[in-house]
């Protein structure tokens, strides 16, 4: 009884703000366009889904979004892992200030910061202007893929660093000592101890970056070139420019399904890695000529 009462707000929240909107989007995605306000007539038509899945325009937008998200995630990982490791290994009194420095930009509005980047990257801005001056020829940065990725990495980096830091700072430093004690130089300690133990952090950070990056609308719109037709922009266009609500909704549903697959895919990939490692160990064990033990009965 009490339990139900305590959980009631959660259920109400989920019902009103998650289930209901999802149901509405799903309903609209199955509707047909109509010359009305709002511009659809409820029904059951898979026409929008058929178009989304077959028309190269939408397919390309989805694929491009996935590619941009994957590359952004990898860039965040490459940049964020050393940062997280550095902060986790820093002396105790430095960790909080360093984390604060990482989070500080987020205390300013997102659009404000992106507009600042527009200023910096514009042809006469400090960065592009400075580079042009150094190169002796005009260099374009704003509205290119470089600017798009810069914006993505700049925005999502903390989402990678935070879970990684949480993971890495919890690793027992004694394991590093044990590995060193057994003759492992620093890079072997990293590859064989730190990295495998931090995979859950890598997975968490990657999902936190990848999922919002796929549907990102603002960054490609403000920094990316006209070719960066990501799914977020296409969706926006369908909804506001074409007023094709069923198409926009179908696109949203497809995107949602794709994103739901990501954590499962990630878990599958980690499982594959782990079983691969286990198989390698087993093969090693099996290659021992007179090895007496068997695997029977072991979990």
């Amino acid at each position: 009884m009490n339990r139900t009462l305590v959980l009631a707000p959660v259920w109400v929240w989920l019902a009103v703000l998650l289930a209901a909107p999802l149901a509405i989007v799903l309903a609209i995605s199955l509707a047909e366009t109509a010359d009305a306000v709002p511009p659809f007539a409820l029904g059951f038509s898979l026409e929008s889904f058929r178009t989304v899945l077959t028309d190269p325009y939408y397919r390309d937008a989805l694929l491009l979004s996935l590619r941009v998200a994957v590359v952004s995630t990898l860039l965040c990982l490459l940049l964020g892992y050393p940062m997280a490791l550095g902060i986790a290994r820093a002396p105790e009194r430095w960790r909080d200030p360093l984390m604060l420095a990482l989070m500080l930009p987020f205390w300013t509005g997102f659009l404000m910061r992106l507009n600042a980047w527009i200023g910096l990257l514009a042809d006469d801005g400090w960065i592009a202007g400075g580079l042009s001056w150094l190169a002796g020829e005009p260099i374009r940065l704003l509205y290119t893929d470089a600017a798009l990725y810069l914006g993505m990495v700049y925005t999502y980096l903390p989402f990678m660093v935070l879970p990684l830091y949480a993971n890495l700072s919890r690793l027992d430093p004694l394991l590093q000592e044990a590995a060193a004690d057994l003759g492992a130089p620093p890079w072997v300690r990293f590859v064989r101890v730190t990295l495998p133990l931090s995979l859950p952090g890598v997975a968490a950070g990657s999902v936190l970056v990848f999922v919002p990056a796929v549907g990102e609308y603002v960054i490609p719109e403000l920094l990316g070139g006209p070719g960066a037709q990501l799914v977020g922009r296409v969706l926006w266009g369908e909804f506001f420019a074409n007023r094709d609500w069923p198409m926009a909704s179908a696109l949203a549903v497809v995107l949602l399904v794709l994103l739901l697959l990501v954590p499962f895919g990630g878990r599958w990939a980690v499982g594959l890695l782990k079983s691969g490692a286990a198989r390698r160990q087993r093969n090693q064990a099996a290659s021992r000529p007179s090895c007496g033990h068997n695997d029977a009965g072991l979990p």
């Binding site: 394991l175 590995a179 003759g183 021992r288 007496g292 033990h293």
Partner: protein, 387 residues
């Protein structure tokens, strides 16, 4: 000297505080050397300095004739068994044991892992992960992992302290068996005097970052060099007294005869190992077991204050213990199954504890509390210590 490891004037500082000060120590080949001390005595720091984890600010660490003091931990031919084991949680037992064998070719490494698994009798658990093992099994994996690369010296940091009592004894026996089989040299750190006495070839007693006495277990127990060692290893009654020219000691309540010769323990030729600060302080006051041939502290005779230390198990209630005796009043008796420990209050208020081993069970006739009793002991039970 058949020294394997020689630590010379080692100093380790944390900040401005010296945790180890000018410490010297020699560990022989194939011996099990136990560092015994209370927490904070610097014994673990010494172990970490040898392994390379505690930066030293002075002195040398020479292993097999090679100064390893400046080398990083992964280049030192010593391995450590950590107190909490520090097994790699993401690796199987076999992979843990094989971690230090990266430089061997695969077949040889696999063979060595198999060998070590057999040695610690964990063949059946080779593919388990550490969290699937009991504490005792984890301990054996840690041991096998440390021994696998054939270190010149294995360092054990309180290896038994995380185990419950029954398992501790079993693991101790296991450790002694491994030692006999392998003939490796060990340094073991412990705060448990029983562990030290039962396992060690030699014990180094540490206090405040310095070694106060080094010697074989019987030597350190029966001929402690200071009051601290006498009380740290086992129980000791301490009576202040005055040494006389005739070789007796005057204590409150009587005159105590000291044996002219010791208890027959071979005199160690290890006086060079003894560099305790106490000894330096009492240069002319050479403790038993350290002087070249004198069984008794030479130089204690003459009118000067000394401490007389008496082990409770060497004392008898009554007249049967020997020629030395003191009269007192029985203040209480505590029954502990195999022993009955009497507390005897002497006329000057000091207290003697007398441990009676109950060979034939609890005797029916026992002196009552408050009765006048005599405590007797033989002259060779006396330990003369600097005050």
């Amino acid at each position: 000297m058949n020294g394997l490891l020689s630590v010379e004037q080692l100093t380790v500082r944390y900040g401005s505080q010296a945790v180890l000060a000018d410490l010297s120590l020699t560990v022989r080949r194939d011996e099990l050397f136990v560092l015994l001390g209370a927490s904070g005595s610097g014994k673990t720091t010494l172990l970490r300095a040898i392994a390379g984890f505690a930066p030293t600010s002075g002195g040398r660490i020479v292993l097999d004739g090679r100064d390893i003091g400046g080398e990083p931990p992964h280049r030192r031919p010593v391995n450590t068994v950590f107190q909490s084991y520090a097994l790699f949680p993401h690796m199987t037992v076999a992979a843990n044991i094989g971690f230090g064998l990266r430089h061997m070719d695969r077949a040889a490494a696999a063979e060595r892992v198999r060998e070590m698994l057999a040695l610690v009798r964990l063949e059946a658990l080779a593919d388990r992960r550490p969290h699937q093992l009991s504490g005792g099994q984890q301990q054996r994996v840690a041991l096998a992992r440390g021994l696998a690369p054939r270190p010149a010296l294995l360092l054990l940091d309180e290896p038994l302290s995380a185990l419950d009592r029954a398992l501790r004894e079993e693991t101790r026996d296991e450790l002694m068996r491994l030692r006999r089989v392998l003939g490796t040299s060990f340094i073991l750190v412990t705060h448990d005097q029983q562990e030290a006495l039962t396992m060690a070839d030699r014990i180094g007693v540490m206090r405040d970052g310095a070694l106060v006495q080094v010697g074989a277990p019987a030597e350190v127990y029966e001929r402690p060099s200071s009051r601290f060692v006498a009380e740290f290893l086992g129980a000791a009654n301490i009576l202040p007294g005055t040494a006389r020219e005739d070789g007796t000691i005057a204590v409150a309540g009587g005159s105590i005869a000291i044996a002219p010769s010791g208890d027959g323990l071979a005199n160690p030729s290890s006086s060079d190992l003894f560099r305790g600060s106490q000894a330096a302080q009492f240069r002319d006051f050479v403790p038993l077991g350290v002087a070249e041939s004198s069984p008794v502290m030479t130089g204690w005779k003459g009118h000067r204050p000394v401490l007389l230390a008496l082990r409770p198990e060497r004392l008898r209630l009554g007249e049967t213990g020997g020629s030395n005796r003191l009269a007192g009043v029985l203040a209480g008796s505590v029954y502990a199954g195999d022993t009955l420990t009497h507390t005897v209050r002497l006329p000057d208020g000091s207290v003697l504890r007398v441990a009676e081993t109950l060979h034939a069970g609890l005797p029916a006739a026992r002196p009552a509390v408050g009765a006048a009793v005599t405590v007797s002991w033989s002259p060779d039970a006396c330990i003369v210590l600097p005050p």
